[in-house]
Symmetry: C2
Subunit: 282 residues, 2 copies
């Protein structure tokens, strides 16, 4: 740490501001992609520390090296708690990471509704190790706003996963109660909805709001947490709601092999919330 | 995020490099202290996001806003597992945060062996809300290298806490097996040693090494984890060793009130390790 004039090297830095006065920086080896889609600014850089990094509107979405923390915790608590998850819907998730985790289960079909076709194209090119989105025969890909998609759909799902970006920009609607009523209409009786709920440090107001309406809508309504090194604060939160499945009682024993973060102990541990969060979420 | 020429404001930034190509930045409102002690460069800045921040040799040690994550998890798993922690030793911990947590228990005495008197002076001035190091009659303060101190001591302790900095610089010796043999000689029969063990992301080799020798030295040898938003990777690891106390069986019910992170659920959850860490630590 020092107070000094930045070198030329530092000018090739990419930063995410977590607040107006702090954040994370990456030194890019290469700026692989930079374009504005209809919905957002999309950037991909290559770094020594985290490999390839995807930014949407300046916020880190996924990195080559630490994507597993987020995608495993977004997907497995719900998938491993459901007795037989055959029909799965992913809202968002254009990078393919959530899909990769879902496809570890013997699902019959996984529908992905991603609003931004450019995110899918960019990730197929620059993150090819994430799910081969278009090639798995179990995958149905729709380019659509998640809220509109679910309203027009006549299908029901065992597990619905919300892999949205933050409650500003194109994902705002995916954080509102009206959207969750629509989702609930398309949930099978033992269905589960899980999704990302933001940083328990920086987005506490949004968690509180979501907690309030989800606990009114579902018999079982939980938040859980897990680390994501490159996300603000290094810890992320997720919600889990269902009218039949209690993730603390019904967690399945047959967890897919080869996971890097999630396991049966982590499943239980993740639902243990810090004192300040229990207080905030009532 | 953008690729651009830094403004004047950004020149007053303080950075911690987590690797040569990424890290955390703070914009300082004020640079409150900057001096080189006999042992290390000490800086205190004031920030909008995390309040006051203490750096030692350029690494964030503690911040006003998130110190509780680290200090609660360093102290309470050991203190709450011990049936009657009366004699406590803290090695390092000059900022006073660990001491503050220890003094929540009805201890008879707490000895603190901090190598750098300037750290104590600076923190008494700039972090006065942390433990009033010199004023509590239960506190015995020694300015000494922890390794030498324990070698020359004729006392035994119920709980020994290692609040060291990283295994480079003045704290290097506090991460070696020889030091732990010395500590073990000064541990009462039901005694516990706990301490910080670095980032499970960035310091995996150091964790592995410590795990190997600690598991040979003690009947119960555990690692546990918890978030610290301003530390590299956002998640930190700690060790817990004892010949009599198993933290998963003997955790006390009488946890001090008023904690912000730690609670009985977190105690159990923290010992649940991610798949990659279980694999690494065998």
């Amino acid at each position: 740490m020092s107070k000094r004039i930045p070198s030329k090297e530092e000018l090739a830095e990419f930063r995410e501001f977590h607040t107006p006065s702090c954040g994370f920086f990456f030194r890019a080896k290469k700026h692989l992609f930079s374009e504005k889609s209809v919905f957002q600014q999309i950037d991909v850089i290559d770094t020594d520390s985290f490999g390839r990094v995807l930014f949407l509107d300046g916020l880190v979405q996924t990195t080559e090296k630490d994507e597993f923390f987020y995608h495993e915790m977004l997907v497995h608590p719900a998938m491993a708690s459901h007795p037989k998850p055959e029909e799965v819907l992913i809202i968002g998730g254009g990078d393919g990471g959530a899909l990769k985790e879902v496809l570890r289960y013997p699902v019959k079909s996984t529908t992905m509704a991603e609003i931004d076709a450019m995110v899918i194209e960019v990730c197929e090119k620059h993150f090819p190790w994430l799910a081969p989105v278009r090639s798995d025969e179990r995958v149905e890909l729709t380019i659509a706003d998640g809220s509109t998609f679910i309203q027009e759909s006549d299908r029901e799902y065992d597990v619905i996963l919300i892999d949205s970006s933050d409650p500003v920009g194109p994902s705002a609607v995916l954080h509102q109660q009206e959207f969750f009523w629509r989702l609930k209409d398309h949930l099978k009786p033992a269905g589960i909805i899980a999704g990302q709920a933001g940083s328990p440090i920086y987005h506490l107001a949004s968690l509180r709001e979501k907690s309030l309406f989800l606990s009114q809508m579902f018999k079982f309504s939980f938040f859980y947490v897990g680390p994501v090194p490159t996300y603000p604060g290094g810890t992320w939160s997720y919600f889990f709601v269902s009218d039949e499945i209690n993730p603390l009682q019904d967690a399945a024993k047959d967890i897919p092999r080869g996971l890097q973060y999630y396991n049966a102990e982590i499943h239980r541990a993740a639902f243990s919330l810090p004192a300040f969060l229990k207080k905030e979420l009532g």
